[in-house]
C-alpha cells in the first residue's frame, strides 16, 4: 500500500456515517499501517528473545554453574544482552511504533515519508542485532545500557536520526491549531533521546571524561533514558489513551502544563543519586537526590490529572483491555517515582544502594509503567491497522493477569531481598558472602515471577501473530474483557 498516495479528502458527505472525522482517521490509520506494524513486529521478536535471556539470567543468580563453561552464556555477557535487547529492541521499538501512530493521528495528517521510518526500523534492528551479538562475543563496553560496541551504536544513531527527523517533519505538516499534550511529550522524547545518547557516547567513548566522572555520566544516562525517553513516551501515550477510550476531556490543561515542564526540568538532574557514598563531591549526589525529591511535583500533578479524568469511569476497566493496561501503567508510574524518591534518600540508599532493590526500581519503570502502557496502546492500535478485532478475550485477560502478578511479585521480591541484602552488607560482623546467600529465596521467587512474565509474553506474541496473519475476529464490536451487560456498553476500545 502506498501510504503517501492516499489523499486527505476535504470533509464531504460520507456514505458511511456522515462523520468527516471518521473518514480522516481511517485514512490516517491506513497510512500508518506498514511502518507501525514493522516497528511492532520487530519489537515483539525482541521481546521474546529478551524474555528468554531474562529467564536465563534470573536462574543463573541462584544456579550459577548452569552453562558456565560456555563463554557467551556467562553472566557477564547474558545480563547486558538481556538489558539491551529489552531497552533498545523491545521498549524503544514498541515505543516508537506507538509514538509514530499517535503522531500521525494528532497531527491530523496522513503519514508522510514512510520510507524514512522503514529505513529507520531496518537500521535500528541491524544496530540491535550487531550490538547484542557484540556483547555476547565479548565486545561490551561495560557501561549500563550503553554496552553496545561503537559500531552498533553508530548504526543505532543513524536509525534514530531517520525516525526523529520524520517526527519533526510530521509536526511541521500538522493541521489544526491545537497541539495536544501527547504531542508535547512525544516531541520532547524525540529531541531528548539524541541529547542523552550523544552526551553519553561522547563523554564515555569519544572523548572520555576522567576517572570516576565516567560512572557519573553513565548513571545520568541510564536514569534519564528511563525518565526522558521511556517515561515521556509512556506518559504521552497514557495522556492519549485514557481520555480517548472513555471519551471525556483530560481534567486540566494547567495540571498538564505544570506536569510536563517540571518533569522535563527535574528529571534531567537525576541519575547521580544511584551513586550515594561513591567517591564524588557530596553536592553532586545531593543535587540529584534533591531533584529526585522534586519529581514528586510532576508525579502528583500527572497522577491527579489522570485520576480526575478517570473519575467515575473506573467501571470501564472491567471491559476495555486498553484502558486496563494503560491505567495499570499510569498508576505504576506513581509507584515507580515514589519508590525512586525513597531509595535515593541517603539514609535509605546507604542500605539499598548496589543491591537488588535498584533492579526492582528499573523494572518498575521499564515494565510496570512503560511496558504496560505500551501493551495497552498496542491493544488499541493493532486492530485499527489490520482491520480485525482481537480474537480471544481470554488471552487478553491471561496476558494482563500474568503480567500484573509477574511484575508485582518481581518488584516485591527484589525490594524485600534488596533491603535484606543491604542490611546484611551494612552489618560489619557478617562476611560479604552471607549478604548474598540470605537473599537466595528471594531470587528464586523472582525466577517464579519470570516464569509468569514469560507466559504472558508468549501469549501476547501468539495473539499478535494471529492478528498479523489476518486471523482476528471480523466484527463491528470490539473484544471486551468481560461480556457487556444487557444494556450494552459504549463501544470503546
Amino acid at each position: 500500500m502506498n501510504a503517501t498516495g492516499i489523499p486527505l479528502k476535504e470533509p464531504s458527505v460520507s456514505a458511511v456515517a456522515g462523520d468527516t472525522e471518521q473518514e480522516e482517521r481511517a485514512l490516517i490509520d491506513a497510512s500508518t499501517r506498514v511502518p507501525v506494524l514493522m516497528f511492532y513486529t520487530s519489537a515483539m521478536a525482541w521481546l521474546i528473545l529478551g524474555t528468554l535471556l531474562a529467564g536465563f539470567v534470573s536462574f543463573k543468580l541462584h544456579t550459577p554453574d548452569m552453562f558456565s563453561e560456555i563463554s557467551f552464556l556467562t553472566w557477564g555477557r547474558v545480563r547486558p544482552a538481556h538489558m539491551n535487547v529489552m531497552v533498545y529492541g523491545w521498549a524503544s521499538m514498541a515505543g516508537m511504533g506507538t509514538a509514530i501512530w499517535l503522531m500521525a493521528r494528532l497531527c491530523r495528517t496522513v503519514l508522510r515519508y514512510p520510507l524514512l521510518l522503514l529505513a529507520g526500523a531496518g537500521f535500528w534492528n541491524l544496530g540491535v542485532v550487531l550490538g547484542v551479538g557484540g556483547i555476547l562475543l565479548g565486545d561490551s563496553t561495560g557501561y549500563q545500557w550503553l554496552e553496545f560496541p561503537r559500531y552498533a551504536a553508530i548504526i543505532l544513531f543513524i536509525a534514530y536520526t531517520l525516525v526523529a527527523s520524520w517526527a519533526v517533519l510530521m509536526f511541521r505538516y500538522r493541521r489544526g491549531e491545537q497541539i495536544y499534550i501527547t504531542q508535547w511529550y512525544l516531541l520532547g522524547a524525540f529531541l531528548w533521546f539524541p541529547w542523552l545518547y550523544t552526551a553519553g557516547q561522547l563523554m564515555l567513548f569519544v572523548v572520555p571524561v576522567q576517572g570516576v566522572l565516567q560512572s557519573a555520566v553513565g548513571w545520568w544516562y541510564a536514569n534519564n533514558l528511563l525518565f526522558l525517553w521511556f517515561g515521556a513516551i509512556g506518559l504521552g501515550t497514557a495522556y492519549y489513551m485514557i481520555p480517548k477510550v472513555i471519551g471525556r476531556p483530560v481534567y486540566s490543561y494547567h495540571l498538564a502544563t505544570i506536569g510536563f515542564w517540571t518533569y522535563a526540568l527535574f528529571s534531567s538532574w537525576t541519575g547521580m543519586q544511584r551513586l550515594v557514598d561513591g567517591p564524588f563531591p557530596a553536592w553532586m549526589i545531593t543535587a540529584s537526590i534533591a531533584a529526585t525529591i522534586l519529581t514528586i511535583i510532576p508525579v502528583a500533578t500527572v497522577g491527579l490529572n489522570h485520576h480526575m479524568t478517570m473519575q467515575g469511569y473506573f467501571p470501564l476497566l472491567r471491559y476495555s483491555p486498553t484502558l486496563r493496561f494503560t491505567v495499570f501503567g499510569a498508576m505504576s508510574y506513581t509507584v515507580f517515582s515514589l519508590v525512586g524518591v525513597l531509595i535515593s534518600l541517603r539514609s535509605v540508599a546507604r542500605y539499598v544502594n548496589f543491591t537488588q532493590a535498584s533492579i526492582a526500581y528499573s523494572h518498575l519503570g521499564l515494565y510496570a509503567f512503560f511496558t504496560m502502557v505500551i501493551f495497552g496502546s498496542m491493544y488499541y492500535i493493532v486492530p485499527r491497522l489490520v482491520g480485525r478485532e482481537w480474537r480471544y478475550a481470554s488471552l487478553i485477560k491471561l496476558h494482563f493477569w500474568a503480567s500484573a502478578y509477574g511484575i508485582g511479585l518481581m518488584t516485591l521480591m527484589l525490594l524485600a531481598g534488596g533491603f535484606l541484602q543491604g542490611a546484611n552488607m551494612d552489618n560489619p560482623s557478617l562476611v560479604f558472602s552471607e549478604s548474598t546467600e540470605t537473599i537466595l529465596p528471594y531470587l528464586r521467587g523472582r525466577s517464579l515471577s519470570g516464569i509468569l512474565l514469560t507466559a504472558s509474553h508468549f501469549i501476547f506474541a501468539y495473539h499478535f501473530g494471529l492478528m498479523l496473519l489476518g486471523l482476528g475476529r471480523t466484527s463491528t464490536v470490539p473484544t471486551f474483557l468481560n461480556p457487556v451487560e444487557a444494556e450494552g456498553s459504549e463501544a470503546h476500545i
Partner: protein, 262 residues
Amino acid sequence: MNEETPKLTPPKASGVGQGMDYGEQADVQQVHAAVQREKREPRVGAEPLSIWLIAVYGLAVFFGGAYLGRYSGNFSGDALDPYGGEAHAMKKVTGPQGAEQVAELSPHDRGKKIFAANCQTCHQANGLGVPGQYPPLAGSEFTTGGSRRPAEIVMKGLQGPVTVKGQKYGTAVMQPWDKTLTDQKIADVLTYERSEWGNSASPVTAEQIAALRKELANHPESFTEPDILALPADAELPGGPPAGAPPPKPGEAAKPNAPPKP
C-alpha cells in the same frame, strides 16, 4: 466514591449496519468499525489548580531545598562528606578524652569474620569439622591448650595423620596461612577459635604472632603430628597474658590499646 456510572448505550446503529471490515473492502471509504465507533480525539479541560496540590508543591520544594542545604558538603569540590567536609570529620576523631571514639569490633568478632571466610569450609561453622577428614576445633586439645600449638598449625599448616579427641583424621592437608593472613588476622582468628563453641583459652595478640613469624621464618614445610606433639601441650607464645587469664567474652569491646584494624 462516585454515583455517576458510565453512560452505557448500544453501538451506533449506523456502525452496525454498515461497518464492514477494512480488510474486506476495496474502498477505503468504508471505514473500519473500530474507527467508526471510537470516541472523538481527546480534548483538554481547564479545571483550576487545587490548593492542596499547591501545598504538595510547597512541601516538595521545601523538603528538596532543605535536603540540598543539609547534605551538600558546603558545595565544595573536594568534600566527600555530605555534612561539610573536614571540619566535621575532625570533630568526630577528637572525642572528649582525645581518644578515638569510633566503635570497633572486638578481636572475637573480627576473628569470626576471618573464620567464616577462610576456615569454615573445612572446620565447619560449628567447629566440629568433618569426621575422618577435618578435625574439630571445638573442645580439641590442640586448640584449647597452650597457644603455641594452634598458632604454629595455623601459621604453617599441617599434613599427615593426626589424632584429635581420640578420632583419627588425615586424608586432608591444611594449608599454611602465614603468607595469606596478617599477624593481626591470625591472632584474631586464634582468639575466636579459642573462645568459641565452649572453648575457653587465652586470647592471642598480633605481637605474639609477629614474634612467632620471625621464629618460623626459615621453616618452609608444613608441620606433621610428631612436630606438634614435640611441643609441650601447655606451651604459650611469648608475650601473652599470664596463664589462667580469663578468656575474652564474645562481643567484648576492644581495649583502648588494641591495635588498629588491619
